[in-house]
């Protein structure tokens, strides 16, 4: 495999005062995160609100400065960039962020073409004809006809608005695109439409795409890899098929067990994996596993946060699959009721 486009090492980000009371006790929005992203790859980032997904994106584009760790893009260390260099990097538009329905916040009088062209102002140095060409190119890539140029965002459906916001994000021809919850405001059909579009963009532009989502099921059809966050920690990551078919971390298992499904089959039930809030009957130290207070398998060793380790016996390239749980290989044997009563096909080692 080629050298990664983005390398995140031991990244820790703290927001001075906790942003929302109770959401992150320590004030750390991200703790010791390791992640690599390759060109042409789609990586899903999942986790609950406040788990640090957006912070990861913000740190990568240089909007927040890490407290520790390093981020490098195409081998260039971003943390050491200062002043002009940092501004130049931001301006290059090589890494773009597309926020959830950003158009809502924009001036209603702007046209679609103006909205899409805006990031080009920051890049600068393009003449009028070139700007127009870029806007048409971006609209074309997201499947919007040029007749949409003069419409206003309020005249668009949710799915169309999301496509405009993607056009806006790719107009600078980025190498890496972070999409923050691109589909959570859309209905299922439009959700699939936008995800397919991201897939096309990756193929046609060789773009690396990070899709931040709170819904695992929508990622199953499009992402190559998935990274699962819980309270600022990366708790599991690996090829999406393997992770979803046989989660190694109890929180990932809880996510898959909780996902809505039209198949009314027997599968793991959320109650087998977690305690109701505040019900474990013990207090954990600050350095405990982030999932300890909810985990059905928590034990004495969990008072210390486990490191992200290779998951045994998984896939052809085991180094690609990691999880942070002391009993990643063993918790299944403690399931109540035991696993053999549960869908054998789904639990088969892939």
């Amino acid at each position: 495999m080629s050298a990664p486009l983005l390398v995140v090492r031991d990244l820790t980000v703290t927001y001075a005062p906790p942003r929302r009371k109770g959401s992150l006790g320590t004030g750390a929005a991200l703790s010791a995160v390791d992640l690599e992203i390759h060109a042409g790859e789609i990586v899903g980032v999942v986790g609950e609100t406040g788990s640090g997904k957006t912070t990861l994106a913000r740190a990568t584009v240089g909007l927040v400065r890490p407290a520790a760790g390093a981020i490098s893009f195409e081998g260039k260390e971003l943390g050491v960039l200062r002043g002009r260099d940092l501004r130049d990097f931001r301006r290059s538009g090589q890494v773009q962020l597309a926020f959830q329905d950003p158009l809502r916040a924009l001036d209603g009088d702007l046209t679609v073409a103006q909205v899409v062209a805006e990031p080009l102002d920051i890049v600068g140095g393009l003449d009028k004809a070139e700007r127009r060409r870029r806007v048409d190119e971006a609209l074309g890539l997201v499947g919007l006809e040029t007749s949409f140029r003069d419409r206003h965002p309020r005249q668009l459906s949710g799915g169309q608005r999301q496509r405009v916001s993607l056009a806006r994000a790719i107009v600078t021809r980025p190498r890496l695109l972070f999409c923050d919850e691109p589909v959570s405001a859309l209905d299922v059909s439009n959700r699939n439409l936008v995800l397919r579009l991201l897939d096309t963009l990756r193929t046609e532009l060789g773009l690396a795409v990070v899709i931040i989502a709170h819904d695992l099921s929508s990622l199953a059809g499009v992402a190559d890899r998935v990274a699962v966050f819980y309270r600022g920690r990366l708790v599991e990551q690996g090829p999406i098929g393997e992770v979803l078919a046989r989660p190694a971390h109890p929180y990932t298992a809880l996510l898959t067990a909780s996902a809505p499904s039209v198949q009314l089959e027997d599968r793991l039930h959320p109650d087998q994996l977690r305690h109701p809030l505040g019900d474990t009957g013990r207090t954990w130290s600050d350095g405990a596993c982030v999932f300890a207070s909810r985990c059905a398998f928590a034990h004495d060793a969990c008072d210390e946060q486990p490191a992200l380790l290779t998951v045994a016996g998984s896939g052809p390239d085991p180094t690609r699959r990691t999880a942070a749980c002391h009993v990643a290989d063993a918790w299944r044997t403690q399931l109540d009721p035991p696993l053999d009563r549960l869908d054998p096909q789904k639990e088969a080692v892939s």
Partner: protein, 345 residues
């Protein structure tokens, strides 16, 4: 308002809600956004209302709640809450009349719980106040009952939550608070319009579980509105599929999911959250749904339906019973059943 036939007493006694021929118009041109919507919810039953964005789900719910946005009106039909002595025709209820219905007999939760709470009052105060006013409880009784309700909806450290302001709680906690407020006065019917859509899957599953439990413990009827068939799969007894302002299919959940009769239901199933991680296709329903007020001859799904024939647009297509429990609005339903795709594999 149209006076519908008095229902037969035997069925009437078992129903919490009967909607008959509901029509809703929007905008100054009074464009028809919902037409001929007819369904019933039995006491203690849970019904899922499913369809794409803009299919008229919210307008239907809001008509029941008497909370249509300005410019939207119930133009036809009847909505009857309760049965026997407690029966009330909701389309004729005026301002003050709603005080004795909303909150007391009918309650609702929506996608954005924060906007239904007063940001400057503690959440406990907002629940207790309702109990004091509507149930005539003393301050102390109202406090105690509020804490009980918070426990019931699964809020951790309820005494502490009681004294917190909305901005101090997460989206999932706020939705639990809203549910506690909604069920506080023991309503007959709870309407949840995309109440879990903005929540992450773990919290969504917990809230759906909570709604099922409340329904069982309080003999509550539930109308659950969502665009994703998967969300209602485990929670609802029956499913109503809505398209372009009409109900196009209805039936027991299991049957509809395993053997959908209407091509639109099949299309919705193909885009729903399947829960099968190995299936790596992202289907879409081509085209877009009709706009409110769009005049169309015959089946409104025809422009997007791969099974459409000339006969489909020749004349009006009615919602036709297929058996005692199921119905569909499709002229080709029999032919298509022969070549059935049999739902999701």
């Amino acid at each position: 308002m149209p006076a519908s036939q008095p229902p037969e007493p035997t069925t009437a006694r078992t129903h919490t809600l009967r909607v008959d021929g509901l029509g809703v118009t929007v905008g100054q041109q009074r464009r028809a956004a919902v037409h001929g919507v007819t369904f019933e919810i039995a006491r203690g039953e849970s019904v899922g209302l499913v369809g794409e964005s803009g299919s008229g789900k919210t307008l239907t719910c809001r008509s029941v709640l008497g909370l249509l946005p300005a410019g939207c009106n119930v133009a036809a039909g009847s909505i009857v809450l309760g049965a026997g002595d407690s029966e009330v025709e909701l389309t004729t209820v005026r301002r003050r009349g709603w005080d004795r219905i909303r909150g007391l007999r009918l309650a609702a939760v929506f996608q954005d719980p924060a906007s239904y709470l007063n940001p400057s009052l503690t959440v406990g105060h907002q629940l207790a106040e309702q109990l004091r006013v509507k149930r005539d409880l003393s301050r102390r009784e109202a406090h105690a009952r509020s804490v009980e309700l918070f426990v019931e909806v699964g809020l951790h450290r309820p005494e502490q939550v009681f004294h917190q302001y909305p901005h101090e709680l997460s989206g999932g906690m706020l939705q639990r608070v809203l549910i506690a407020i909604a069920v506080a006065l023991e309503p007959e019917l709870l309407i949840a319009d995309e109440a879990t859509t903005a929540l992450d899957v773990v919290i969504q599953a917990e809230i759906l579980q909570l709604l099922s439990r409340l329904r069982r413990d309080h003999h509550l009827s539930l109308l659950l509105v969502t665009h994703d068939l998967a969300v209602v799969a485990e929670t609802c007894d029956r499913i109503l599929v809505m398209y372009g302002g009409e109900i196009v299919e209805s039936g027991p959940t299991g049957e509809v999911l395993t053997d959908p009769k209407h091509p639109y239901t099949r299309a919705l199933l193909s885009v729903a959250s399947i829960g099968d991680w190995t299936r790596r296709t992202l289907d879409v329903i081509p085209g877009s749904p009709p706009e409110a007020g769009e005049q169309m001859s015959g089946c409104r799904f025809a422009p997007r339906c791969s099974a459409a024939r000339e006969q489909c647009t020749a004349g009006p297509v009615d919602l036709t019973p297929l058996d005692a429990a199921r119905s569909a609005r499709c002229v080709r339903v029999d032919e298509l059943a022969l070549t059935s795709v049999g739902g999701v594999a």
